[in-house]
Symmetry: C2
Subunit: 254 residues, 2 copies
Amino acid sequence: MSGRLAVVGLGPGDRRYLTPEAEEALAAAQDLYGYGGYLDRVPVRAGQSRHASDNREERARAAAALDCAASGARVAIVSGGDPGIFAMAAAVCEEIEAGPESWRAVDLTIIPGVTAMLAVAARIGAPLGHDFCALSLSDNLKPWALIERRLDAAASAGFVIALYNPVSQSRPWQFAKAIERLSRHLPQSTPVVFGRAVGRAGEEVRVVTLDAAAATAADMATLVIVGSRDTRVVARPGRLPLVYTPRASAEVSA
Amino acid sequence: MSGRLAVVGLGPGDRRYLTPEAEEALAAAQDLYGYGGYLDRVPVRAGQSRHASDNREERARAAAALDCAASGARVAIVSGGDPGIFAMAAAVCEEIEAGPESWRAVDLTIIPGVTAMLAVAARIGAPLGHDFCALSLSDNLKPWALIERRLDAAASAGFVIALYNPVSQSRPWQFAKAIERLSRHLPQSTPVVFGRAVGRAGEEVRVVTLDAAAATAADMATLVIVGSRDTRVVARPGRLPLVYTPRASAEVSA
């Protein structure tokens, strides 16, 4: 007998971002799996079991949740933001492909959420208002040379760039190196937005220019958006400036 | 006296995707602006005025809403999906930059939502599970040569590509041309996901290979995701296959 597995996006943090669909899936689950920090955001309900695991144990967590669902339970794995963007949905799919036949029979639902770049962009205007890309700066699972190649391609073709996982304790130099790489293609005055813990306690949003970005503090809770040549900054009295990328673009050559 | 303007993301359609934050902003508004099709999704409340406009009148709609807010009203502009992704937030920022000083004093809030590519990706697995870009195929506001350049850059660097606005009545040939362009860089077996009206009545999701993509029906309600060389398809008994992009990538050269 096969049960159900919901991979649930919690949004950027606060329950104001949790969709009714996500709320329902959390309420219906018998077993909840997730990184402890995300599970802590889910209200405790009687009769539910919680299985917290460390941030790095994504595949083991996915396998345990699939096992539990395949045995007939209603299971939810929680993910910050959207589960499909640098989060648990890919890990679950990897396990299903590699795992026993019974895992393919699990009734799998992936429940989208507001991913970090949307929340940060909304706070400052519309920096993702035209063509953009999302790139993880973690070189744990891909070579640094590939990251550089993607930074080159994106910046020279005029994409705005959202950088996920800019810095961690074990990856101290990658962010400054990425900014240096982008500086080969973009003017020093290009706007760069740092959004930290957006949607949660301690939220902080800063706008700097590219030449000051490498020296600006970032951590695993930070999402960085690097503008294109088209991105504009509009000063406002007594408020943060607006940063936005117009819908029209004339640029063809770099 | 300056009022408030909320630019509200409704998500992909169904109210199950509407965040509590968006719900609140809609309830608090005195005047609602938007494309008629989006306004129709918002429940009618006593005392609210509705100002529906055509899909193409984005700047005029933004200007009217800013005028209304600057005169002291609580105003909401509604947007499908997320307002910051190929939607109203950029149009509002454009108007603020070009408009009278009083518009910069308006208390502007942008409320993020689940954008179409997240909803489509969730339905089929995790095609956006690693580095990806989002590109509008509309050449109303940018030259076609720039779109081709971005398609080349994204596909050759290994980004998964989400195509917004693939086809409209006035743009019948662009989608087939874009697929032809991507075929220069990607194998004919590359998975391509078509999600139509996802989250709404008449939802339809199809998975084809790149060589069949140009001949697959798409319209303005369709979001297309073209995989990278890393994107995988996992067959499942009695269900749609899973399409996902693994978190690890070894590719460096094209």
